[in-house]
C-alpha cells in the first residue's frame, strides 16, 4: 500500500480527533505504519480541532501534510478553510447537516451526506463523526469495514451502548460511501485518486 492521508476537521467536541484515532488504530491493527497528528489550537477555549492521519504499508515520512489526499469535514468553517487545500483529485467528505451552504470543487470528488441527520436516524445522536468516517472508509476502501468496526468494538468494549451507536453510525456512513458516486467532478475517475482502493492483503474485506 502506498502512503495516503486524510484530514479530519471540525470544532472541539465534534469528535474528529477520535474519528482519526479510530482509523489510525485500525490501521495499526492491520499492520500499517501510521501517524496521527492533531493541529492543536492556541491555548484558548473552543476553536478548531483537526487531525491528519497518514497510513502507509512501508513508512510514513512527513506526518505534516499541507495538501491532504482526502478531507472529512464536519462544518462550514472547516470546509472553507481546508476544502481548497485538498490535493487535486482528492476526496472531500462533507457533513451537510452542519455545512449547509453549497460548496464545490471541480477537480475533486465530493461526497456530501447529512451525517448528523443520519446519525440521529440510527439513534446515535453523538456519532456524526463515525458516520463521516464510515463514508470515507466505504468510499476509499483504504481499510475494510471489519478492520474499523473491530477497532471500534475494542476501544468501546467497556461502554456497550456507545459502541453499538458508533458501529451503527459507522455502518450507515460506510454504506453510503461504498455506493456513492460523488458529485461533481471526477466521481468515476477513480484512477485519479491517490488512494489504492482494493489492497486485499491489507484489508481482508469480504465485500466492498
Amino acid at each position: 500500500m502506498n502512503t495516503t492521508d486524510v484530514l479530519f476537521a471540525g470544532f472541539g467536541g465534534h469528535g474528529m480527533l477520535l474519528a482519526g484515532k479510530l482509523l489510525a488504530q485500525a490501521a495499526v491493527n492491520r499492520g500499517l505504519q501510521v501517524s496521527w497528528l492533531p493541529a492543536y489550537g492556541a491555548e484558548m477555549r473552543g476553536g478548531t480541532a483537526n487531525v491528519t492521519v497518514c497510513m502507509s504499508g512501508s513508512r510514513v515520512a512527513s506526518p505534516y501534510i499541507e495538501h491532504p489526499a482526502s478531507l472529512v469535514v464536519m462544518n462550514t468553517p472547516s470546509l472553507l478553510k481546508y476544502g481548497p487545500k485538498v490535493k487535486k483529485g482528492g476526496l472531500i467528505v462533507i457533513n451537510t447537516t452542519l455545512a449547509r451552504e453549497p460548496w464545490t470543487r471541480e477537480d475533486c470528488p465530493v461526497l456530501s451526506l447529512p451525517a448528523g441527520d443520519m446519525a440521529r436516524e440510527v439513534g446515535a445522536w453523538k456519532s456524526t463523526n463515525l458516520v463521516l468516517l464510515g463514508a470515507w472508509a466505504g468510499y476509499t476502501g483504504v481499510l475494510s469495514r471489519d478492520a474499523i468496526v473491530e477497532t471500534i468494538e475494542e476501544q468501546f468494549s467497556m461502554k456497550h451502548a456507545v459502541m453499538n451507536a458508533n458501529v451503527a453510525a459507522f455502518d450507515t456512513g460506510f454504506r453510503q460511501g461504498a455506493t456513492a458516486r460523488p458529485a461533481p467532478g471526477m466521481a468515476n475517475e477513480v484512477d485519479s485518486r491517490t488512494l489504492d482502493r482494493g489492497n486485499a492483503h491489507l484489508d481482508h474485506r469480504t465485500a466492498r
Binding site: A24, W36, P38, A61
Partner: protein, 358 residues
C-alpha cells in the same frame, strides 16, 4: 513486542518508566502536559513519586535534589519553562548530576504561542545558561525514536554524569504513532555508589555542589568536565542520512520532524528521478560535524530546513567550513515548512546548478 498507538508525550513518559525512572517533578505547560499527567497516573502504580512543582525554577532544583540522592529522575517542560530552568541546569551541570530534561518546543520568543516550533535549538545546544558547560541534546523525529532516545538519554546522563535534554518540537509530543517498548521493564539501579548523598553511615560525608572557592580547582574541574564532553562527542554522536548512498546535487539538512518533511520532499522528487540527500543530526549537541561535512562535501548545494529563523545554520556552516553557502527555509511561530516548500526550493537550486553547468 506489541505495537501500541501512543502520543509522543505519553510514549516518552512510559519509556522513562521502563528505563527505571520512577521520579518525576514538573509544572504544567502546553504542549507537554500529557507527560506529567501520564506520570501522575502511572507512578503511583509502580511505586514511584510524582510531584507537581510550584514553578520551573523549583523543578530544576528539585531534580537537583533528587539526582543528588542518587535516583533516576526526569522533568519535562516547554520553551518558556525551560528558560526558567536555565540557572538550575547550570547548577546541575556544575554538580555533575545525571538528569533527563524534556523540552517540547513551542513558538517563541516570550509567550508567543503554543504551536510547534524548533526555536530552542540555540538555547539547548549553546549558551543554555551562564558558565562553561554543555548540555547533551537528542532530537527524535518519530514517536518510536522518542522512546529510544529517552532510554538513551538516561544511559548517557548516567554514564557521563551530565544533564541530557530530549528536544522535541511540539508535534512529536502531540502526534500518535505505533511504538514498541523494549522489555527493560525497570532499568538497573543507578550507579551512584560513590557520589550520591544517601546518609554517611559507615563512610565519610559527601558533598554535591557546584561551588569551587579555589579558581585553580574550578578551572581543573571545568577541564575535567570538558574531557567527559569530548568522550561523549567520540562515543555518542549520532546522525541519520536518507538517500545519501548514491550521488546527489542537493543536500537537505534538518532535525526532528522537519527531517521527515524533507524525506517526503525527497520521495516526491525521486519520482522525477531527481536525487536529493538528507542529513539529520540525532545528537544536536555534540553535533555530528564530521559526518555533516562529508555529506556536504558531496553536494553542490545545501539547503537547511527548520521551524525557526535558522538556528542550526551555525552548526551546518561550521561543518561546511566555508565550502558551501547554506541556503535556508525557515518558518516559525507555529508555521511549518511544507513538502511543497522544500520541493520548490530544491527545484530553484537544480535550475541554478543546470544554469551554472551550461
Amino acid at each position: 513486542m506489541t505495537r501500541v498507538l501512543m502520543k509522543g508525550n505519553e510514549a516518552i513518559a512510559e519509556a522513562a518508566i521502563r528505563a527505571g525512572c520512577l521520579h518525576f517533578f514538573g509544572y504544567p505547560i502546553t504542549p507537554q502536559n500529557e507527560i506529567p499527567e501520564y506520570f501522575s497516573r502511572r507512578l503511583p502504580q509502580v511505586g514511584g513519586e510524582y510531584v507537581q512543582t510550584e514553578s520551573e525554577v523549583a523543578t530544576s532544583n528539585m531534580i537537583f535534589g533528587a539526582a543528588g540522592v542518587g535516583v533516576r529522575v526526569m522533568t519535562s517542560s516547554s520553551s518558556p519553562g525551560i528558560s526558567l530552568m536555565s540557572e538550575g541546569i547550570s547548577y546541575l551541570a556544575g554538580a555533575d548530576l545525571p538528569v533527563v530534561i524534556v523540552n517540547m518546543m513551542r513558538a517563541g520568543p516570550g509567550l508567543a504561542g503554543i504551536l510547534p516550533s524548533q526555536s530552542d535549538y540555540a538555547h539547548a545546544t549553546r549558551g543554555t545558561a551562564h558558565g562553561d558547560f554543555e548540555l547533551t541534546v537528542l532530537a527524535p523525529s518519530s514517536v518510536q525514536e522518542a522512546v529510544d532516545l529517552t532510554i538513551l538519554s538516561f544511559q548517557i546522563a548516567e554514564r557521563y554524569r551530565v544533564p541530557v535534554m530530549l528536544l522535541g518540537d511540539g508535534m512529536i509530543g502531540q502526534m500518535m504513532e505505533p511504538v514498541e517498548f523494549p522489555e527493560l521493564e525497570v532499568g538497573p539501579p543507578l550507579a551512584a555508589d560513590d557520589w550520591a548523598l544517601t546518609g554517611c553511615r559507615g563512610r565519610e560525608p559527601r558533598l554535591v555542589s557546584s561551588l569551587y572557592l579555589d579558581p585553580v580547582e574550578l578551572n581543573d574541574k571545568n577541564y575535567e568536565r570538558y574531557r567527559r564532553y569530548a568522550l561523549i562527542r567520540d562515543k555518542e554522536t549520532r546522525f541519520d542520512t536518507y538517500n545519501c548512498d548514491g550521488p546527489y546535487d542537493v543536500l537537505l539538512t534538518a532535525f526532528g520532524v522537519m527531517a521527515r518533511v524533507c524525506m517526503s520532499a525527497i520521495d516526491e522528487l525521486a519520482k522525477e528521478g531527481i536525487r536529493v540527500g538528507l542529513f539529520r543530526p540525532i545528537t544536536l549537541n555534540p553535533f555530528p560535524e564530521d559526518a555533516c561535512r562529508s555529506a556536504i562535501a558531496r553536494a553542490k548545494r545545501v539547503l537547511d530546513v527548520e521551524m525557526n529563523m535558522g538556528q542550526m545554520l551555525v552548526d551546518i556552516r561550521l561543518a561546511a567550513r566555508g565550502s558551501h553557502d547554506i541556503d535556508f527555509i525557515g518558518k516559525c511561530g507555529g508555521l511549518t515548512p511544507s513538502v511543497e516548500d522544500v520541493v520548490e526550493r530544491v527545484r530553484v537550486h537544480l535550475a541554478a546548478i543546470r544554469a551554472e553547468e551550461r
